[in-house]
Amino acid sequence: MKPLVIGLGNPLRGDDSAGQRAAELLYHCLEPGAADVRLCHQLTPELAEPLSRASLAVFVDARDGGEPGEICARRVESFGETRHTHFLTPSALLLLAKTLYGSAPRAWLVTVSAAQFEFGAALSPEVEQAMPELVDRVCGLVAAEGDLPEMPCAS
């Protein structure tokens, strides 16, 4: 079993790509093969099976709200009910993994607050500047097997 990092977002909608971009940069601070890294536009039920096999899950995503560039990290529990078929919340996906495959790992959601979600591949200056810290935070969680204090959002 190894950690699963899921970088989320649309790479053509500005800061929404931050999650995918961070996941792509993890090689800077993770040994090859240290984690299963996946890039997704959004969470879908097919991720439940690999999630059930992971030792730890870290979801990395852009956040709509807060001061642009602000990084938050919080634990995620499996719960909730959803009627989505095209995307899920991390909590609902964990619940799906536990119900379908009997197991769900400890999980974290690490976010960076976005400045804009406009068309285009470029990040805003605020989010671009926050990327190294975002990547470090994810790597830190993986290295510590999830045993780090939470970083609540200011707002």
């Binding site: 536009h41 959004q42 039920p45 097919e46 009627r83 989505h84 095209h86 995307f87 609902a92 799906l96």
Partner: protein, 471 residues
């Protein structure tokens, strides 16, 4: 006083649409229509782009079936270059196209329609979703997840990523198959085949429970259109374009993609952005036809692989005019795709490194036809001497089915909707007839069930008499 019921948006489909049902003074359904309310404009904004960019641009039309647009687009580009692509490249394209059909059919059947089929059309909407399915039948939910994941994985192995892979190009494919990738795909197939067969064996005997839906879900005579092989078996990429009549009699067969213009006319109706194609020799509406799994299985003599051929024996026992049987057809096609992918991966030439042909602009026009999960997909391009796009016409699978969906809404509404006693189950059946076609309205992603379904009762003067919302 006459009234209008509006179902907006229709849920658990790909894209955005609404349904209106016109009631008469007695509360009986007088008329009903399926409206597509989104417009994308791809045909216009590709003008001026180099034609070689078209496969990648066209894949962006849709996040659910980008591969289908890749295929039709690449074929149109092949014709502009006037090349016959290498045999290996054609086989590799076929494999990816069938993986796409497999994953899309799994999404349609297990995620979108199985909740209705297993939990019942009258179950509360908060249960009619994959989580409701999960509680009622976790084994089936796991099968759906696994089958979809398998199709997506094959696309990812070949194309490098699951969504918008750029591996299919004008003149062939970008890179050959490696032994490692071949082995990886082959290893996925046995489990998937077992799951698909089990799903079919469960669903086929349960059809008698749906007699009312079978009788009224767009159950009327139309023509059918689709590609089929020279041997009259399923062929999703390089077959002849075939049209059969309402009694399944052959009407048309051509191997020349450019003939589509002689066969298909397009009517524009005032209430929808989606055009309404028809078979030209019969005119509109007599020439209304259906495409997709139902049509393809009605056209062929047999699918063409062992297990799918055995499953096909059930096909001739059902009422093949009913659009309810799109569901059964999808399961048979999933079985076929898994078997056929395995056969192609054992072809001696499948590892050949020559998979791409290069040529400049040799023709001013190109037409590419392929079978998308939802039916026949046609891309027609015009270019100037420099290869810049001057014209694009896309006839998408859902478009072909538009007139039949429209007529199907009326039929099912007349059977189930009574204006003086609006109930969730009857409105769900009106939506479910659309879902049977699995329309892809090019395809903004949405959250099924999260969006409100709103039913408005309007007076003849347009005043809202009452409003019911769910979700």
């Amino acid at each position: 006083m006459s009234r209008t019921l509006t179902i907006d948006p229709v849920t658990r489909i790909e894209g955005h649409a609404k349904i209106t049902i016109q009631l008469d003074e007695a509360g009986q359904v007088r008329d009903a229509h399926f409206h597509v309310t989104q417009v994308r404009g791809f045909e216009k904004f590709v003008e001026g782009r180099p034609f070689q960019e078209m496969p990648s641009l066209m894949a962006r039309i849709c996040g659910i079936c980008p591969v289908s647009h890749l295929m039709a687009s690449a074929k149109a580009c092949d014709m502009i270059m006037a090349v016959h692509i290498r045999h290996t490249a054609a086989m590799l394209r076929r494999i990816m196209n069938m993986a796409q059909i497999m994953q899309s059919h799994a999404l349609s059947y297990f995620y979108l329609s199985a909740p209705d089929l297993l939990l019942g059309m009258d179950a509360p909407p908060e249960q009619r979703n994959i989580f409701g399915l999960l509680e009622a039948d976790p084994e089936m939910a796991r099968a759906g997840v696994k089958l979809r994941a398998t199709g997506q994985k094959i696309i990812e192995i070949l194309g490098g990523k699951r969504i918008h892979p750029a591996w299919v190009v004008a003149g062939g494919v970008a890179s050959p198959l490696t032994e490692e990738k071949r082995a990886e795909i082959l290893a996925l197939l046995p489990d998937a085949l077992v799951l698909a067969q089990q799903a079919f064996e469960r669903f086929a005997p349960s059809l008698e429970r749906f007699q009312a839906e079978i009788e009224s879900f767009a159950n009327f005579p139309t023509l059918f259109m689709g590609l089929c092989s020279k041997q009259n078996t399923l062929e999703f990429l390089n077959g002849d374009l075939c049209v059969i009549g309402p009694n399944f009699e052959p009407l048309e067969r051509t191997s020349n993609a450019e003939d589509y213009d002689e066969l298909i006319g397009e009517a524009v109706l005032p209430y929808s952005y989606l055009k309404s194609p028809y078979y030209k020799p019969l005119g509109y509406p007599a020439g209304v036809y259906r495409v997709g799994p139902l049509a393809r299985l009605n056209i062929v003599e047999r699918p063409g692989t062992p297990m799918a051929d055995r499953a096909f024996a059930e096909w001739h026992k059902v009422d093949r005019q009913s659009s309810f049987h799109y569901h059964l057809a999808r399961l048979i096609e999933i079985i076929y795709c898994i078997e056929r992918i395995g056969e192609l991966l054992h072809e001696p030439d499948i590892m050949n490194a020559n998979v791409r042909s290069h040529a400049p602009v040799n023709r001013a026009q190109g037409v590419g036809i392929s079978e998308a999960p939802r039916g026949t997909l046609i891309h027609h391009y015009g270019v100037d001497d420099d290869g810049l796009m001057t014209y694009a016409n896309l006839i998408i699978a859902t478009g072909h089915n538009n007139p039949a969906m429209d007529r199907g809404v009326l039929q099912v509404a007349q059977r189930f909707v009574k204006g003086d006693e609006l109930q969730e189950g009857m409105l769900n059946r009106v939506e479910a007839v659309i879902r049977a076609y699995d329309p892809c309205l090019s395809c903004s992603t949405h959250a099924a069930g999260q969006m409100p379904m709103q039913i408005e009762l309007l007076s003849a003067e347009g005043d809202v008499l009452s409003r019911v919302a769910r979700g």
